[in-house]
Assembly symmetry: C2
Homo-oligomer: 192 residues x 2
DNA sequence: GAAATGATATATCGACTTGATATATTATAA
DNA sequence: TTATAATATATCAAGTCGATATATCATTTC
C-alpha cells in the first residue's frame, strides 16, 4: 500500500500531525500490519496537500493570535476529494503480505549460534509476542466497526499462536548443538 | 537482515546462481520470513565477490570446453571467509519483525469497500493461507536440523492460526454494511 | 518442422523506503 | 536551574522494490 493511501487511512480516523500519524503506525490500530516512517510520511503529506486530498487546519484555528502549540505544528485533515481518492485506492486486489523476521532467520540457523545467544534471541522474541498479544487485547473493543474488530482479533490470534508454538517447542530448539565449530578448532585446516 | 547476509545464508544451504537464490526466497525454506529481489541480490553478490566471501565455481567446472548450460550462468559458492563473516553477522540482537499486509488494511476499512469486493479480498486471503500451510507441511522434515524444523513449524502454526481465525469470524466481517456511501447519494451535499 | 510460449538467467533503472540525523520547542524530573 | 525526555518537522545517503530489457533454452502447439 502506498504511503499516500496509508496517510489518508490514518486521517479517516481523525485529524493529526505528521508526528501523530507516525505514532499511529508505532502504537495504533495499524501497528501489527503496516508501517511508515517520517521519510515516507512527510513527502506523502506534501503531495496530498498539492493534490487537495488533505488540508491543513492548524495551528489551532480558534487561537488565531497569541499562544499556540508547537510553533510549526501542522494538523492535517482529509478532504471530500481525499475520501473519494481513498475509496478508489481501496478498490484494488491487494498484493501478498510481506514479512521480514530477522529473529526467525537467526533461529533457522540455530546451529550457527552460540547456545547462550540462541536462548537470548528466543526468549526476547517470545516475550515480544506475549507483550503484543496482551497489548492488543487491552484495547477497548466498544463501538468498533466489524472491520477493525476483525483485524484486531486477527492480530491477537496471530500473536497467541506464535507464543503458544514457541512455548511448546522451546526444548526442541534448545537441544541444538553447534554443527559448525563455534571457534575454529585447528587454525590451519582445509581452505576453500 | 542485510542482503549480503541473506545471500550467504542461502549459499550455506548449497551452491546457487543469482536466479536460484531469488527462487529460494520465493519458494524455499526462508520464503515465509524473508525476501529479496534481483535488485538486492545481484549488487550483494558483486560485493561479496569483491570481499572474497563468495567465489564463482561455474560454468560447469568439468565441462571446460564445448556445451555448457546458460552461456552467462554463474554459480556462487560460499568461502571459508564467507562462513566466518556469516557467523559474525548472526551474532546480533535482531530487530523487530516487519509486516506489511495490504489485505489487512483493506479488511480494516471493510465499511469503505463494496461488499462483493470485501468478500473477494477475504476469500483470496484465506485461500492463500490454507495453501501456504499445506505447502509448508508437504516439505519433507527428514534429517532437518532443529532450527529449520522449528521455523518450519512456526510457519505452519502461523498460517493455520490465521486460517482458523478467518473461518471462525467470516460472518462477523461479512455483516459489515457500508458506513460511508458507496456512491455519493446526492451530488451536491456539504463540502469540506 | 516452425512458431509460440514459458522457464531460466543476468542485469539495471527510477521511484520509493529505511534508519539516522539535524534542528528546535515544550514538558517533566532531578 | 539544568538535564532529560517527548513533541514536532524535515532531510539525506544507502538501500530496496517492481518493472523492464535482453537473451538462451525447453516445451508445447499448429
Amino acid at each position: 500500500m502506498d504511503s499516500r493511501t496509508l496517510c489518508l487511512g490514518t486521517l479517516i480516523l481523525g485529524d493529526a500531525s505528521g508526528y501523530e500519524i507516525r505514532k499511529m503506525f508505532e502504537e495504533g490500530p495499524f501497528a501489527h500490519f503496516q508501517d511508515a516512517g517520517y521519510g515516507s510520511i512527510y513527502p506523502a503529506l506534501r503531495k496530498l496537500l498539492d493534490e487537495g486530498l488533505v488540508a491543513i487546519i492548524a495551528p489551532a484555528p480558534e487561537a488565531t493570535e497569541g499562544e499556540r502549540g508547537h510553533p510549526d505544528k501542522k494538523i492535517y485533515a482529509i478532504t471530500d476529494a481525499g475520501r473519494a481518492a481513498f475509496r478508489e485506492a481501496l478498490a484494488i486486489t491487494p498484493g501478498r503480505d510481506k514479512i521480514r523476521s530477522d529473529a526467525c532467520f537467526l533461529m533457522f540457523f540455530a546451529d550457527w549460534l552460540e547456545p547462550a545467544h540462541l536462548a537470548r534471541v528466543f526468549d526476547d522474541y517470545l516475550a515480544h509476542f506475549k507483550d503484543r498479544a496482551a497489548f492488543v487485547k487491552s484495547l477497548d473493543p466498544e463501538g468498533v466497526p466489524p472491520g477493525r474488530l476483525f483485524t484486531r482479533g486477527l492480530g491477537v490470534a496471530f500473536y497467541e499462536a506464535i507464543a503458544a508454538y514457541m512455548e511448546a517447542n522451546r526444548d526442541m530448539l534448545m537441544q541444538t548443538r553447534p554443527a559448525a565449530p563455534v571457534e575454529p578448532a585447528r587454525p590451519a585446516d582445509a581452505a576453500e
